[in-house]
Symmetry: C2
Subunit: 376 residues, 2 copies
């Protein structure tokens, strides 16, 4: 089994970064959350002038055995249909990734559909290079969907480890091309149910607080989902299941989630900035953080999902996301929409003038330096 | 006096817009606030496929007579020094406007400083054309700062009307070049104090709730500011001052604020999308809305400022801003940072595939159309 070694960020640079932020031509703290973000990225990269290079979004897709039982408002076929929509460029994530300059790769982690031959060099090292912004499909299929966790574990421990390893391998290739900021998204009918189970097991908070309406269940549908998940949990507990992250992930997770956990661990190991989307990506991040707590340092939480259980996750991770727009779409849309704010944090740190360079009086010293003509 | 005629948006298209949003390949409502925003912009432009053209930011700068009395943590000279910083490209608003593709114009509405000759064609109709993203200074100076409202009205009624007319004229020129989305920003030491007085008078909420720390007053400074503003208000009330928007604006406003009110009215009259920044721009928007309530339909509230009084304004206008990042910088930074979200709202409406065009099953009918290869 691959083991990941993730170090907490070295905070020795923090004072220098804070000082650089504080000398910018603005009142102290006036850029709010963007100031904290700029310092976080500086610490991840161990630079006073961090750079975001080749931003990428990986959208992991997979099907869930439990979806047949009625945990979603949509039929399972929507998973592969949406993958086709991603490849055709017509989904929300395509629109937002294009707009904000993120390259998009769709990873078939375990969709119950044969996508047939595609013009894709699966293993070539140049997979991620020179392809502009047009989305490609990467075939990393573990199986055509997981098993139904109402009856048995969704995947075996070996499958879970293999899915994580494949996710890690994808990130290793991608990082080798120079990408240092990576957004995560997902598609999988039934995966808010899986994320709810993971969130419950890994935070210890009541299941009812972790379960939401997903793609749009009505009251009766929500009740059915809650009852089904309670049943799955009871079966797991009766079989002696504990709350170890890998075991919970194998028991209830989707292949897209397990692959994402591996991808996140590999990304943090390489000191990439991780753009964490909403509830399902959040469940993967929570799992990865329980495995390697230092991974938290590399996470930028992009938005607060309208899905109920997301608040539980964010609370458990003491995370304050950048956006709160009532989104509940997944696909990585929150990450793609928040990316300009992440870029803005880096840009103000690098491009804004300081009080000294701009000749602006600071209230703290009231010294007006001579006017200069260019930004420092 | 110029009179503005602003019509409420015609809502006849609302159902068609809502239906277009609902047929996109996503669960109903899953794009949250962006869906409402897309519909708002469609209604402003009276189109099912709205377009944002030549986005512009106008930053109005002016000085306040009351600034000498100690209502700000910074000396008054910072106003002109920051204008120089804008022109040199080194301020936060430069960084964010550049990043997000907004052209930037700085308007000297009444700065207490002689900027000397600049390479600017003040009145030429091509002022706003063909200049890329490099910021220019537009000279619309009313006077070198307002009078001190602790002693007398900040400006006369005639000055206030003239400032509004100049703001309107700027927008008329700008709209003639094809710009249909306009962000507002400001610079003026002392203008959170003025905005607090306007907010109090126009909402009727307690002055203490409307006054904040501005650029960073400490507790003692905040107390002094509150006491000074209470004194100014008492003088105004004793002189028979009422809460009519134009009178309040002339009494306490800055030239940058009066000019902005005129600019906003002219922009809404021409059916532009107005990007409303934080507390000071919000005070101008509140004034403009009190003059012409239909202006509210054209406003996109971009961020929730950390400045205390902004919450009062937003509550009074029942506005839910796009961003809540603890910003309190002004300059239009919240508008520039939110612009990609505004663009995203328009883009998803225009570019996303529908269930039918993408061949994705909708939970409402479960009909799977044949797969298609391009986005609809």
């Amino acid at each position: 089994m691959h083991s990941f070694e993730i170090s907490p960020v070295d905070r020795a640079l923090e004072n220098l970064l804070q000082n650089k932020v504080d000398r910018k031509t603005k009142p102290l703290g006036a850029l709010g959350a963007l100031e904290k973000l700029a310092i976080q990225i500086g610490l991840i990269q161990q630079r006073l002038d961090p750079q975001l290079c080749q931003p990428q979004l990986l959208v992991f897709a997979g099907d869930h055995g439990a979806a047949q039982a009625g945990v979603s408002a949509y039929p399972q076929d929507v998973t592969w249909q949406m993958v086709e929509n991603f490849l055709a460029g017509g989904a929300a994530i395509n629109v937002f990734a294009r707009q904000n300059g993120l390259a998009l790769t769709v990873v078939d982690a375990g969709v119950a559909h044969d996508f047939g031959p595609r013009d894709v060099k699966r293993t070539a090292p140049d997979f991620f290079e020179n392809r502009g912004l047009s989305p490609l499909l990467l075939d990393a299929k573990m199986a055509p969907g997981t098993a139904n966790y109402l009856e048995q574990p969704a995947m075996s421990a070996a499958q879970c480890a293999e899915a994580m390893a494949r996710g890690a391998a994808i990130v290793a290739q991608l990082a080798a091309t120079g990408c240092n900021v990576l957004g995560f998204g997902e598609m999988g009918i039934g995966n808010t149910a899986a994320a709810a189970l993971l969130t419950h097991c890994l935070t210890g908070l009541p299941l009812a607080e972790c379960v939401g309406r997903g793609t749009g269940l009505d009251d009766a549908g929500l009740k059915r989902k809650q009852a089904l998940l309670a049943t799955a949990l009871a079966r797991y507990r009766a079989a002696g299941g504990d709350d170890a992250p890998r075991q919970v992930l194998a028991e209830f997770g989707g292949f897209e989630m397990a692959m994402m956990v591996g991808a996140m661990l590999a990304a943090a190991e390489r000191r990439l900035v991780l753009l964490v989307d909403g509830f399902i990506v959040g469940a993967a991040a929570l799992t990865a953080i329980r495995l390697q707590p230092a991974l938290r340092d590399y996470c930028v939480f992009c938005h607060r999902s309208a899905e109920a259980g997301h608040r539980v996750q964010l609370q458990a991770l003491q995370a304050e996301p950048l956006l709160d727009l009532g989104l509940r779409l997944g696909e990585g849309t929150g990450a793609a929409l928040a990316f300009p704010l992440v870029q803005a944090a880096v840009n103000f740190l690098n491009e804004m003038a300081s009080f000294e360079s701009a000749g602006v009086a600071d209230k703290r010293d009231d010294v007006v330096a001579p006017r200069v003509s260019s930004a420092g």
